[in-house]
């Protein structure tokens, strides 16, 4: 059999840290047997080993990869993330990474970027900003309340909004309201902001709002979807999202694997009407 260049590694790593970074979010650091590079927006499929093994691995965006250590940010929402939260340093984690299409690096033609990150949608955009951020980019994070915000991860570049403005630490600021409102008010402070590239990751309502904000202004918009996944590497068709057959405006549609053709999609390619009735409640963020 011919062998293509491997791009993804199936490795068993060891937990080096696993602790809360806010009231609702935990950070997991896994030391892998080798260093694995990634592009911001790519994800890993994680699983426990032994008796705790899940039938399916779970997808998590890669927050950072430093030498052999790969980091994640997650929220406990069900069986799998409960088991993740129980992991102690030294315990094993199966990690298939990196997977999926990233948020592209900017080039000279890329307009300034508006980042909209909600809850556990932070990792890909945090990674992007650290690696590719340019002066003029605007980064906004939306959390439930001040306690939920992982302040230690958010440099002063980040604007923060919260649903309930309680527990804001001294010396930090948070806008009360939606993260899209925060972004717009920042952008429009000095009049018409000019074209932007919107990049969003978070619960589906946030993604819809981001796509609408961009569409209304004719701005390009990339969204990272957190669709349910089975395999994460393109073999099961358990993660599909409807995309327009011939790009923006086309009424024909087809199912795209969100694990291999995404998770980052051009918002204009998505068929938002067909997309995810099952995401109405806001998903896992």
């Amino acid at each position: 059999m011919g062998l293509l260049t491997p791009t993804t590694w199936d490795l068993t790593g060891r937990v080096t840290a696993n602790a809360p970074v806010s009231s609702g979010l935990l950070r997991l650091d896994v030391e892998l047997p080798r260093s694995v590079t990634f592009e911001p927006g790519q994800f890993a499929m994680l699983n426990l080993t032994g008796a705790g093994q899940l039938v399916f691995r779970r997808p998590f965006s890669i927050l950072a990869s430093d030498g052999r250590t790969m980091s994640f940010l997650y929220r406990v929402v069900g069986r799998g993330t409960e088991r993740l939260a129980d992991l102690e340093p030294g315990e094993a984690v199966d990690c298939l990474a990196p997977l999926g299409k990233p948020f592209a690096a900017p080039d000279a033609a890329t307009p300034p970027v508006v980042i909209l990150a909600g809850g556990v949608g932070l990792p890909p955009l945090h990674a992007w900003l650290s690696r590719h951020g340019r002066p003029g980019d605007l980064a906004c994070f939306g959390g439930r309340d001040g306690g939920d915000v992982p302040w230690s991860l958010l440099s002063d570049e980040w604007r923060v909004s919260v649903d309930r403005d309680v527990d804001i630490p001294a010396g930090r600021q948070a806008h009360h309201g939606l993260v899209t409102e925060l972004a717009l008010s920042e952008l429009e402070r000095d009049g018409d902001p000019g074209p932007r590239l919107v990049m969003a990751c978070g619960p589906t309502p946030l993604l819809r709002a981001a796509a609408m904000l961009a569409r209304d202004r004719d701005w390009p918009c990339l969204v990272s979807l957190e669709e349910h996944m089975g395999c994460g590497y393109g073999v099961c068709k358990g993660c599909v999202v409807p995309v327009r057959l011939d790009g923006p405006g086309d009424s024909g549609w087809r199912n795209a694997n969100s694990c291999t053709e995404g998770p980052v999609f051009d918002a204009a390619d998505l068929d938002w009407e067909r997309f995810g009735a099952h995401h109405a409640t806001g998903g896992a963020a």
Partner: protein, 307 residues
């Protein structure tokens, strides 16, 4: 792994099914490794490739027309397996022949093509076309007729739950497939599977693949409604292994046709249970979705040299 004393097979040695020699006895199951092209860019520290030692990749089932499949969500994880309702999403036969088959040939993936249709003649014409297109493809070893998908059942019964239908589909395919293995994949959602296997054997089938998924349902406690939009799905994984072993045993002992065992095979131990009952080969489904190296590691664990 320590091998039991009765274990003597070499799962990496060639063996024959009907008119065809296949390179090994551990395969990936249909629908759980796509078309077999996706594993090439994945690596691990301690094992060459997800294909190492694999006897065949059974492709995702291909239908005459492309299918968009069922609405999302399509997968429910159970503590002991999963329920899926993919709905046979696939590129369709034309695109498969034009694009997928050449890619499989190019990458030299040992291939068994899974086909589904709703009428015997459709099986016949697909097999004829496939035979023409794949004639010179040394790594194309056979066809698996998916006579059993419960997700696209019509009128409540699985397609292929009557011996007559099974026989008609097998006969139609056989007449166009002189030199490749012809395998019928049967539904487990019947009282007795042996009569179906006997009908397939009678109609000229070389082997039976068993089992496909078992009709199952799970309820979302939050809503009180079934998790899957179509209510029912196909139950697979560890939870169905006892059922798979029972069906396989029924076929092996009552019909005697070669059987390719499928159902809840996660480990080499699980595979051994199917070989113990007389299976000529086994397939790895749900486990392959979790672990790209699942089948390859089973081969590694079954390797005689390590016993």
């Amino acid at each position: 792994m320590k091998h039991p004393h009765w274990w003597t097979l070499d799962v990496e040695a060639p063996f024959t099914i009907g008119p065809r020699e296949l390179p090994g006895r551990v395969w990936t199951a249909s629908g759980c490794f796509a078309y077999g092209l996706t594993g090439h860019d994945i690596a691990a520290q301690d094992i060459d490739s997800p294909y190492a030692g694999i006897g065949a990749v059974v492709t995702k089932t291909v239908t005459p027309q492309p299918r968009p499949g069922n609405p999302m969500p399509r997968l429910v994880e159970m503590p002991v397996g999963a329920i899926n309702s993919i709905g046979l999403e696939n590129v369709g036969f034309e695109a498969f022949i034009a694009e997928t088959l050449p890619a499989l040939a190019e990458l030299a993936v040992p291939t068994v093509v899974s086909l589904a249709a709703t009428r015997p003649e459709e099986f016949g014409s697909m097999v004829a076309e496939l035979h023409a297109a794949g004639r010179d493809m040394p790594t194309w070893h056979g066809v698996e007729l998916n006579l059993s998908c419960p997700n696209v059942a019509e009128g409540g019964h699985d397609f292929g739950s009557s011996p007559e239908t099974v026989a008609a589909c097998v006969a139609a395919a056989r007449s166009h497939l002189p030199d490749r293995a012809l395998i019928a994949k049967l539904t487990p959602n019947v009282a007795r599977v042996a009569p179906l296997a006997a009908a397939a054997a009678e109609a000229g089938c070389d082997a039976i693949a068993a089992i496909n998924t078992v009709v199952g349902l799970d309820v979302d406690l939050k809503t009180g409604r079934p998790v899957l939009p179509r209510r029912f799905g196909g139950f697979s994984g560890a939870g169905i292994r006892p059922i798979a072993l029972a069906k396989v045993d029924e076929i092996v002992r009552e019909v005697g046709i070669p059987v390719v065992g499928i159902g809840g095979i996660d480990t080499a131990e699980d595979a051994l249970k199917f070989f113990a009952l007389g299976c000529v080969a086994i397939q790895v489904g749900t486990a392959q979705m979790r672990d790209p190296f699942a089948a390859a590691r089973i081969v590694q664990d079954l390797r005689r040299a390590e016993s």
